[in-house]
Amino acid sequence: MSEEQLIELAKGGDVESFNQLIYKYEGLAYSVARRTLRDAESAADAVQNGFIKAYQGLHGFRGGNFRAWLMRIVTNCCYDILRAEKRRPAESLDDMLAGPEHIPHLTDPSESPDQYTGRMELGGLIENGIRSLPPEQRTVIVLRDIHGYTYQEIADITEEAMGTVKSRLSRARAGVRDYLKHHSELLPAPYRHRDR
């Protein structure tokens, strides 16, 4: 059954059809929320609330990019939580460390243990770099560079102008780059930037 069909059924009250859409996008939604909010519980709340609101507001979806429409709701739920938490100027160093869910699974059987370890270390460091960014930059860089959204989709999701999206993305990338640069000794050898 196509996505459009599922959406139409869901609009008619078929929760199971909507759940099929949830199964398709919950990983993406959680991934974005988790990297935007920095803790798993808040991310789960944001995603759950986002899906509930999406279902209740499904009549407002009039065709187009459902993925972007859904992610806009989830992203706004993330921002709701951030506002409720009154973004703190400092946070625990422990929270900065990548949790187990951030460790990428070993997908290449031919990868050596050292390579696997290095890749996981790099992933953890990059996750920390992302966490060091402001929420708006986190959202943009996660959507663009991790999940492959286009600039226009990101602009639709964040309800910002294209220029703002580009600006935030560039700052976010530079921020992660600078973070990695200043933690270069933590990077596995193959991944270290050249010193300047």
């Binding site: 929760v15 609101k53 279902y55 921002y79 160093l93 708006e136 220029g163 933590l186």
Partner: protein, 575 residues
């Protein structure tokens, strides 16, 4: 920091180039410059590498499924009306009534339309709560069914009489007089074990079922109530304390009830139509979900520019401890966002603090709870400024512990700041060794007002860790208050703009840092050079003038390994 001859080739241009969304002219420029300028080449390759690292990050696996619980109800979203309850296909709610009466689709909707817009114009069913509306509709439906049932039985009796008397009844009109008298069953208190859908508590379950009259009092009314077209809360064995039980049996036709959540009114208005308690709603879906606990461990954030040794040391020593904010008792460094008026106005330190340029989406604007009212959507149109403020979270600020004044006075290695000749600032050093800027025409004793003594942080006692390659800068900006005292300036942040020594023009290299509630700003890991300070207030930027000469800009020259403490910078006025 950039030392390239091409400062106009910004990271934004390079980022767009990497994504293939730059113009042809920009592409040609970047490619030609990258081939000749090492700085630009490095920036481009480092950004590319960073993007590739990010591309390799996996999608995070969710800890559980977020599918909505279906149970015995589903919520139909309609284009213009509030969500309605419809029976789930195949559920008991859709079973035929025992009387064998055929399902008459649509008549319930018609009844509701009649009640809402016809006989009861003026909003009888437009007002009131969910329970009242449900009860009224159920009662009306019950009455109608009773009348209809009476007509049916009347016909049946009449036919029987006719058969007995051998006289066929030719009339099709029901003889109401012959109908068995049927009285509407009173609404009885429901069994306490009955529950409603959604996130209702036990007590609310009971009151909800009370309103719906779930438990008929007599056999006759039990029969008629089984014919009722209102929602019947079927007795279940579910514990009243269960917040996830869903056991609403919705009788035959689509009953236009609002979504079975206690906070959803019937009529979609501008008022919030659904306020979902996140933890409870989540629990309604998955009982294993527990409400999120707020983070309660604010500690210093290792800044991106923090030297590695410093970050490692701090991470090792502070891994499980809190790094105190700038001053033990002073408010933390001002978060991104407009600062409120000076404290002397009586407002809290957190007044007006907001940072995220957040937008409400257009689907269910009303569903945002009241906590969202403090969101700054007030009309700061300059997105760049909003982003600058947002960047304060990752600014090169580090919380440093307050040290005792006496200790610092004894061992201070404070030096007279190296101020450019254009600044016009006169400097003086106090006997205690602390460095402080004061204007020559002011007497130090008289300028220290009772309000200043209330400021918790002694700017002269603050220190910044510097290394051999970078320096640090800190200061405290005060402005004359109406009572002639000096108060912290109401600035949201300070921009440190590096001046190109060759062209005496500001470069794109800008450091941005917040100003806390006491007017204190701190910059660490600052590349050596000459800087001008810019203040930001309510989206406006202005160069900080020299306290002695407002026509002169305040310039600072920072050397490697040098900490510059500007001390208290006092102004009569600021833009």
């Amino acid at each position: 920091m950039s030392s390239s001859d091409y400062p106009h080739i910004s990271d934004e241009m390079l980022s767009a180039y990497i994504d293939g969304v730059s113009t042809e002219d920009e592409q040609n420029l970047i490619e030609s410059v990258a081939a000749s300028d090492a700085e630009v080449a490095w920036r481009l390759s480092s950004l590319r590498k960073t993007v590739s690292y990010l591309n390799d990050l996996p999608e995070l696996a969710p800890p559980r499924s977020f599918a909505l619980a279906v149970d015995n109800y589903s919520v139909a979203a309609q284009a213009t009306e509030a969500p309605q309850l419809v029976p789930k296909p195949g559920s008991a709610a859709q079973a035929e009534p025992t009387s064998g009466r055929a399902h008459q689709g649509g008549w319930w909707s018609s009844l509701q339309d009649l009640l809402q817009g016809g006989l009861f114009q003026g909003g009888l069913f437009q007002s009131g709560g969910l329970r009242l509306n449900n009860a009224m509709i159920a009662s009306a439906a019950l009455v109608l069914l009773l009348i209809g049932g009476g007509i049916f039985f009347g016909d049946l009796v009449r036919q029987n009489r006719a058969m007995l008397n051998g006289v066929a009844e030719s009339s099709d009109q029901p003889n109401i007089v012959d109908a068995a008298p049927v009285e509407p069953a009173p609404i009885e208190a429901a069994d306490t074990t009955q529950t409603m859908t959604g996130a209702a508590t036990a007590s609310e379950n009971r009151s909800e079922s009370d309103a719906l009259g779930a438990a008929p009092a007599s056999d006759e009314s039990a029969e008629t109530s089984s014919l009722a077209s209102g929602p019947i809360v079927a007795p279940t064995s579910t514990s009243p304390t269960t917040s996830t039980a869903v056991s609403v049996a919705v009788v035959p036709t689509a009953t236009p009830f609002p979504a079975a959540t206690e906070t959803v009114p019937i009529v979609p208005t501008a008022t919030p139509t659904a306020q979902i308690d996140l933890p409870v709603a989540a629990a309604a879906v998955n009982p294993n979900i527990t409400p999120a606990e707020p983070l309660t461990k604010p500690t210093a954030l290792p800044t991106p520019d923090m030297p590695l040794a410093q970050s490692q040391e701090s991470s090792q020593s502070n891994r499980s401890t809190r790094v105190q904010p700038l001053a033990a008792q002073a408010p933390p460094l001002g978060p991104a966002g407009p600062q409120g008026p000076p404290i002397t106005d009586g407002e809290s330190a957190d007044a007006g603090v907001d940072n995220a340029p957040l937008k409400a989406y257009d689907i269910q604007q009303d569903e945002r709870d009241n906590s969202a009212q403090d969101l700054n959507v007030t009309g700061l149109e300059d997105k760049a400024e909003l982003e600058d403020r947002a960047e304060m979270e990752t600014s090169t600020m580090v919380a440093i512990p307050e040290t005792s004044r006496s200790d610092e006075a004894a061992s201070s290695n404070r030096r007279v700041p190296n101020i450019g000749a254009t600044s016009g600032i006169t400097t003086s050093t106090q006997a205690a060794g602390a460095t402080e800027f004061i204007t020559t025409e002011r007497d130090l004793a008289s300028s220290v007002s009772s309000q200043e003594t209330e400021l918790m942080t002694d700017i002269s006692s603050l220190r910044i860790e510097v290394d051999d390659e970078t320096g640090g800068l800190l200061g405290q900006i005060l402005v004359r208050a109406p009572d002639n005292s000096f108060r912290p300036a109401a600035l949201s942040g300070i921009r440190l703009v590096k001046i190109d020594p060759a062209h005496e023009a500001a470069t794109t290299t800008i450091e941005y840092g917040p100003v806390d509630i006491e007017g204190i700003f701190i910059f660490t890991n600052v590349e050596p050079g000459k800087y001008v300070l810019e203040g930001e207030n309510a989206g406006m930027l202005f160069k900080l003038p020299s306290p002695d000469d407002e026509m002169q800009e305040l310039h600072v020259i920072i050397d490697a390994g040098e900490q510059i403490n500007l001390g208290k910078i006092r102004y009569e006025t600021l833009p």
